[in-house]
């Protein structure tokens, strides 16, 4: 997007050619500032009429908009020397400066509502044309219909015929952020995230309030209460904050700053007073449905419950049987785990679900495993010098998956969510042999 042009050469070039250059610049303040300075410096090389216009544009206050400011420089230079050189178009998108006002005036709400009704009607007509039910005509069906009716081989997709909802075509209204004179409303406008920093200042005000409250209680002789219990919730992620609280994106550092500030609030005594403010930024751990089919508990001869499950990793397949009220014995293909797996890393993979939840030496496991590098197929068809009982990590992963999917029936749904975030349940099935 950035065309790096040497501005001095551009204006002092006296060769004859037609040229049209557009400088699409980023929205950093530095670039805009540089643009202004550069234009002001080289303004003397331009026509007198355009000089006046430029000065009026550039010296006006520019608001910090999150859009590219485009400098369209056009100059036509004729081939012959004696013809008058015209620098015809040296315009700054003045529209961009007061674009908010323009937009607000341009598209009224009635206008947009009218367009929405038209769109809905048009969709129903399309459905009737294609011979389908207009009530159940989705957005994807609309796209397919238009591709069928108006086929185009243009490479630029925005140039193809489209039929979209007006809320996409007419973007949402941007609130006025500044006066006519250019003075912004928000007191933190010149920090680039006024909403975020505003919340942080709000949190600090709450902290100061709690300090004075705590001093009062201390004088009266009361002890501070227990710290705030936030329960099984977690902080909003960066993406959630960008969507809901703010309208723009933020960096990781800022996000961490924001959360440390509110954690600071949480640490204060008597912070239950501002619990509503804090819980705006906390979400409960969501429970989702079991996605790998139905599992049932069965009762064995001893009276102990057990669950059967299958697990897989790469080309290894395992049948796992998890028994409750056990003492931590794990048998694989008839052998104990310590004999089957020579490497300790494989044993650890099998045991990670238990360690993750803090449940060790409570369940028994019986498993049968085959496949992978040390499976029966490779032993028959593969080379013989690598079969020393060490390359069994696929088998270990298969058993781990079986255990973690079978143990869900003995566990609360919040712990299941914790396991999912640990990466024990939703695995990516890779066929790598």
């Amino acid at each position: 997007m950035l065309y790096l042009v040497t501005p001095l050469n551009f204006f002092l070039d006296s060769r004859c050619y037609h040229k049209r250059v557009t400088l699409y610049l980023c929205n950093f303040a530095m670039w805009n500032h540089c643009l202004k300075c550069f234009a002001l410096r080289n303004i003397n090389s331009l026509n007198a009429d355009i000089q006046v216009q430029l000065r009026q544009c550039l010296l006006a206050p520019v608001t910090m908009v999150n859009k590219p400011i485009s400098l369209v420089i056009e100059r036509y230079i004729s081939t012959s020397q004696h013809l008058h050189r015209k620098i015809r178009l040296m315009t700054v998108d003045r529209d961009n400066v007061n674009l908010q006002l323009k937009k607000q005036v341009r598209y009224s709400e009635d206008y947009i509502q009218h367009k929405i009704d038209e769109h809905n009607l048009g969709v129903r007509r399309l459905a009737a044309m294609m011979g389908e039910d207009p009530d159940s005509f989705t957005n994807e069906d609309v796209k397919k219909a238009i591709q069928y009716l108006f086929p185009s081989s243009l490479t630029a997709k925005p140039a193809r015929p489209q039929m979209e909802h007006p809320s996409v075509v007419f973007p949402a209204k941007i609130k006025l952020q500044a006066n006519k004179e250019g003075r912004p409303h928000h007191y933190l406008f010149y920090t680039r995230q006024p909403a975020l920093y505003g919340l942080m200042h709000e949190a600090y005000d709450c902290i100061l309030d709690l300090h004075s409250y705590a001093d009062k209680m201390r004088k009266m002789g009361q002890r501070p209460p227990k710290p705030l219990d936030l329960g099984l919730t977690h902080w909003l992620s960066k993406e959630d904050i960008e969507k809901e609280v703010l309208s723009s994106k933020i960096s990781d550092d800022l996000y961490n700053q924001f959360i440390t500030q509110i954690e600071r609030l949480v640490e204060e005594p008597y912070s239950e007073k501002y619990k509503d403010f804090i819980m705006k930024f906390r979400r409960k751990l969501v429970q989702r449905e079991l996605s790998t089919g139905t599992l049932e508990k069965e009762v064995g001869k001893d009276g102990r419950e057990f669950v059967r499950c299958q697990g897989f990793r790469k080309t290894a397949r395992a049948d796992v049987k998890l028994i409750a009220n056990g003492s931590g014995k794990i048998t694989i293909n008839g052998k104990p785990m310590q004999e089957f797996f020579n490497i300790i890393a494989d044993r650890e993979t099998v045991v990670t679900p238990f360690i993750f939840l803090g449940i060790l030496l409570r369940f028994d496991v019986e498993a049968t495993v085959d496949g992978g590098f040390q499976g029966n197929w490779m032993m028959l068809h593969g080379k013989q010098y690598f079969h020393d009982g060490t390359r069994k990590s696929a088998m270990a992963g298969a058993i781990r998956y079986g255990i973690s999917s079978a143990i869900r029936l003995f566990i609360s749904p919040e712990q299941i969510e914790i396991m999912r975030r640990g990466g024990l349940i939703d695995i990516i099935f890779k066929l790598v042999c």
Binding site: D253, T260, Q261, Q338, I344, I355, L360, L361
Partner: protein, 428 residues
């Protein structure tokens, strides 16, 4: 003064803004943003503290046994650790060279702890009880220690050896017998001097390098006893050298060290003397062999392009005569081993690795009749005693002593002693 304060405030303010924009570390940012007069300690409250309960191992009180002499140990002392005295430990495993009595890992741990401790276990007490009741007037008994890898076969052998040393027995050591059966040097140029044709019998082969080391360990183990034992016949080594009747074994050992050409023959003479003499002139003899199944398998050596069998080696021939029960006044203890076997031989083993599969036909015929001593993995009590000992030595701290950490160690390693030592060596 006012100007200085004001300028400081202003500079601080500007520094704040510049830091935020430049992207300084989070710690400094949080300090400026909170704008408090609080100290740094408030930010370090999230230090990790072990709130979890301690495990069973940290509540055990009886860890060590006060007696350092295995003759006085009894079944009440099972699962306790006793220290080997420094003098005895130096004789068993000297620091000058690594005779592979103990494993390398055990030696390093002993140097770290500053002491060498062994656990008193049931098979060790069983062996020592048998050795206490040996009848010097009757033929020699053979004891074979077998079990899974890492369960403690070599350690029970060393326990019996310590008993015999403290009771002034003569000891014939053969540690890591696999070294006898393969070359010491991996380069071909140096291997040439390892096998030579023996002068006593031209069909056999000598091993001067191995027998030198053997004589050093033998002499270092039995320092003072060798001076009292005398030979009964005359031995002629060459035209000019001979040793007459009544020479002490220590002189023979010195001769063997000085003349590597005759060192294997010296060993043969020592073994012959042991077989001939009675309990009147000689103390009881213990033949301690680690990895005894090396004597009944294949060698990894070649001479003149042909593979060498164990019958061709003179050391082995003499040694197998002592493993038999033709003589009196002593005991033979042997421990089996599977880790030294080559992979081509392990695949031929039956599942379970029964001791008779490791010995083979030849070994069984030679060592029959014998007494089997089975070394089993740790019991639950012994596991906790091991972990309590590590806590006492400060080998394990903090997190691995909690209930969760203990459960993890036990679940991963099972009751295998070697796995526990190897795993705990990497923990804190």
């Amino acid at each position: 003064m006012h100007l200085q304060k004001r300028s400081k405030l202003l500079s601080d303010c500007f520094r704040c803004m510049s830091l935020m924009e430049k992207g300084m570390s989070l710690r400094f940012k949080s300090r400026y943003i909170c704008l408090t007069n609080r100290s740094m300690s408030d930010f370090t409250k999230h230090r990790y503290e072990n709130v979890a309960d301690l495990g069973h191992a940290s509540y055990i009180e009886n860890i060590r046994c006060d007696e350092s002499d295995p003759t006085n140990h009894s079944m009440d002392d099972v699962s306790l650790m006793y220290t080997i005295p420094v003098e005895h430990y130096k004789r068993m495993s000297p620091a000058k060279w690594n005779n592979k009595a103990f494993s390398h890992r055990f030696q390093r741990m002993c140097s770290a702890f500053g002491e060498s401790c062994l656990m008193i276990r049931k098979p060790g007490l069983e062996l020592v009880n048998y050795l206490k009741h040996t009848n010097p007037e009757k033929a020699v008994n053979r004891y074979i220690i077998h079990g899974k890898t890492g369960c403690g076969k070599s350690m029970t052998l060393q326990y019996a050896l310590h008993y015999c040393m403290s009771n002034n027995w003569l000891i014939l050591p053969a540690y890591h017998f696999w070294d006898n059966v393969k070359f010491n040097y991996h380069t071909k140029l140096k291997r040439k001097g390892e096998l030579t044709v023996s002068q006593f019998n031209k069909d056999r082969l000598d091993q001067p390098v191995y027998s030198l080391k053997w004589l050093e360990t033998f002499g270092w183990l039995n320092q003072k006893l060798l001076g009292e034992i005398k030979t009964t016949t005359k031995y002629i080594w060459s035209k000019h050298e001979s040793s007459e009747e009544g020479t002490s074994l220590s002189a023979l050992v010195d001769l063997g060290k000085a003349r590597p050409r005759h060192s294997t023959d010296v060993i043969g003479c020592i073994m012959k003397e042991i077989r001939l003499q009675d309990h009147t002139t000689m103390p009881s003899v213990l033949v301690a062999v680690d990895c005894i199944n090396a004597a009944f398998g294949k060698t990894l050596m070649k001479y003149d392009g042909k593979p060498v069998t164990t019958d061709q080696l003179s050391f082995m021939c003499n040694f197998k005569k002592i493993l038999s029960n033709d003589w009196k006044n002593g005991a033979v203890v042997g421990a089996l081993d599977t880790l030294g076997l080559r992979q081509s031989e392990t695949t031929d083993l039956v599942e379970g690795e029964h001791p008779y599969d490791l010995l083979g036909r030849e070994g069984f015929d030679l060592l029959d009749p014998h007494i089997l001593i089975h070394v089993q993995p740790y019991t639950d009590q012994e596991v906790l005693a091991q972990l309590a000992y590590y806590k006492d030595c400060k080998w394990l701290i903090d997190r691995s002593l909690t209930a969760a950490g203990e459960a993890e160690i036990i679940q991963l390693c099972g009751n295998n002693p070697a796995d526990i030592t190897n795993y705990c060596a990497g923990l804190y």
